[in-house]
Symmetry: C2
Amino acid sequence: MTRVFNFSPGPATLPEPVLRQAAAEMLDWHGSGMSVMEMSHRGKEFMSIHAEAEDLLAELMGIPANYQILFMQGGAIGENAIVPMNLIGATGRADYVLTGDWSKKSAKEAKTYGTVNVAATAEASKFTAIPKQSQWTLDPGASYVHICSNETIGGVQFHWTPDTGKVPLVADMSSDILSRPIPVEKYGLIYAGAQKNIGPSGLTIVVVRKDLLGHALPITPSAFNYKIQGEADSMYNTPPTYAIYIAGLVLKHVKALGGMPAMAEHNAVKAKILYDFLDQSSFFRSPIAKEDRSLMNVTFWLKDEKLDDPFVQGAKQRAIVGIKGHRSVGGMRASIYNAMSVEGVQALVKYMQEFERSHG
Amino acid sequence: MTRVFNFSPGPATLPEPVLRQAAAEMLDWHGSGMSVMEMSHRGKEFMSIHAEAEDLLAELMGIPANYQILFMQGGAIGENAIVPMNLIGATGRADYVLTGDWSKKSAKEAKTYGTVNVAATAEASKFTAIPKQSQWTLDPGASYVHICSNETIGGVQFHWTPDTGKVPLVADMSSDILSRPIPVEKYGLIYAGAQKNIGPSGLTIVVVRKDLLGHALPITPSAFNYKIQGEADSMYNTPPTYAIYIAGLVLKHVKALGGMPAMAEHNAVKAKILYDFLDQSSFFRSPIAKEDRSLMNVTFWLKDEKLDDPFVQGAKQRAIVGIKGHRSVGGMRASIYNAMSVEGVQALVKYMQEFERSHG
C-alpha cells in the first residue's frame, strides 16, 4: 500500500492514524458488537460519541457557553440558504462581503430570503486581495454581515477579524476552520462543511450565538431550523452518525498534536515553503496579494498553460494528486489542510523545481 | 469480537461482508492510495463509485429511464419540507394519507408550503391498520398524494400500491426501500433515508419522475432543488461521499444475494417466524391488523409493561439489542431489515419463549 500526497480541496486528506483506528473499529466499536454506522443515534454508545465530538470542538475552538454547536447536513451550499432563512428575519436585510466564488454564491442565494447589500467586493481585482475594512459600506440595520474567511477556489484568506460593531459577523469557515486559533466571541455564527479540516463530507458544523435564534422565516424546514435542532441537540432528524464519529477521531488527533496553536504553526510552515518557492520562481507565480494569501489553498499558475497537463501528469507519477486548479479559474491549487504533512509540501516543491528546470 | 443481533430501527445493522470490505479498503481504495473519504468528489475514482451506486440502484429497483435518481442530504425529515418545496407548486395543493407518526409529521411540515388535504387517516384506530383506498377522499387537483409505505414506529406497511390516477403518488419508503420488488413506474416520487436498508445515515435517496420537476417554489434552497441537483448529477454541492460508497457496497451485496425477489422472500420468512410466535402467545401480542403488518418493524407488547425493562435487560445478556419500542408508543419493536439474519430472529423468538415461560 502506498499512500499518495493528496492536495485535493475537499474532500481532502485525513490523518492516517484516524483512518487506521476507524478501520480497526469498523466491525466492533469498543466491544459494543456493532459498527458505529449500525448504532442507533439515540443509544448510549452513539450519544457518547456525539457528546465527545461536541465537547472536543468546543474545547479546541474555545467556544463560549452562550453558543450553540450544531451538527447539520447540506454543506456550505446548503447553509447559503439556511443561514438567511434563520437569521435575516431579524431586520430583513444582510450585508455580504465578496472575496471570491464562494462568497458570491452565498450572496446570490441569500437574495431569495431578504435584501442583500454588497458591503464590499474585490471583483475589480479579480479577487486577488481581500478588501480592507475601510473600503466596506456596512448597513447598521443589517441582520448580519457575511464573509468567507478563506476562499477555497481563489486562494485568499482573512488574516484579521472584521469589526462589525453590534451587527453579528457570520463566517463561512469551511476551508480554514480548525486551522488556527479564532476569537469565536467576535462572531455571531460560524459554519463549515466538514470535508476539509474535520472529516468526511455530509457533515456541516454550525456554531451560533444563542441570542440570534428565534428569527427563522416561516418557510424554514424544521430539519434546518437552528432553534429546533439546538433544542434537540442536533437530533431532530437522524444525524450523519459515522461522519460525526470520524470528526471526533480527527478532533482528538488534533488535540493530541497541540490544538489550534500547533495547527497554526504547522500550517504556516507548510505555506511558507510553497510561497517562498513561488516568489523566487520565474516559471510559477502566485497572483494573490501577499498579505491576503491563503495558508490553506495555495493557487499558482505556470508560465505557459500548455504545460498544465504535463505538470499534472508528472505529479501523478510522483504520487502527488489533486493539484489541478478549480475549473472556473484554471491554473494549479495545492490544498494544504491540517492533515497535509510538511513532507508532502516538500515533495511538491521538489517536483516543481525539477519541472521548472526541465521546462523553464 | 462478538457481533450482536442489532434490532435497531435505524441506523441499523449492515451486512458483515460490507463492513469487512470497508475496513480493508479504508486506507487505500483499489490502489488509489486514498481512503474513499479523502477523494475529491469530482475525481475519476469517486465518480466511478458514484456512478456504480446509481446504476446498481436503478437495476435492483427497476427504475425506468424517465426517472431521476438523486443522492441528497437531510433524511426523510428534511424531505418532509423538500418534497412540497419541489412539487406542491404545480397546483398549490397536496393529499396526505395518515398511517402513523411519520406520515403525520410529513403532512404537518407540508402545510408550510401549500394546502394539505388529509385524504385518509387511521388515527381513530390508533394507526393499527392502513385505511382501505375505498375510504380515501382524493383531490383530483392535488399536486401529489403522499403516503408512508412503512411506518417505522407503528409497524404498519402498505402491501398494495394505491391507485391515484393522474395525480402522482409520492412515497416515503425510508424503512422498506429495497426490501421487496416495487412497481416504480406507479410512483411519481420515492424518497428514503439510507440508514435502514441502504447504508449509513446522512444519505437520502430520491427517485423522481423527470416530468414532475420544474415547479419548485422560489424559496427552495438550491442544494435541495431536485432540478438543479438532477442537472448536476447530485453534485451541485459536495455529496456525502463515504455514505454513497457504503451504499454501493450494500447494493452490490444485495444484488449478489438475488436482488429484490430474494430480499422479499428472506424478509417474509423472518417476519413469519416472529408473527407466528406472537399470534400463539398469550403473553406477547401484536396489535396490528394482520393484512397491514410490517415485515420490517415488528411491534409487540408484553402482557405487563412492568416487565418491559427486565425483558430488554435480559435480551442484552443474550446479545440482542435495539428492541425497545419508540418512546412515543412504548412496548417493543424488532426491526428486521434486509441485513438482519434468520438466525437473529430465531434467537429473539427463543428468548421470548424463555421469557414467557419464566414470567408468564
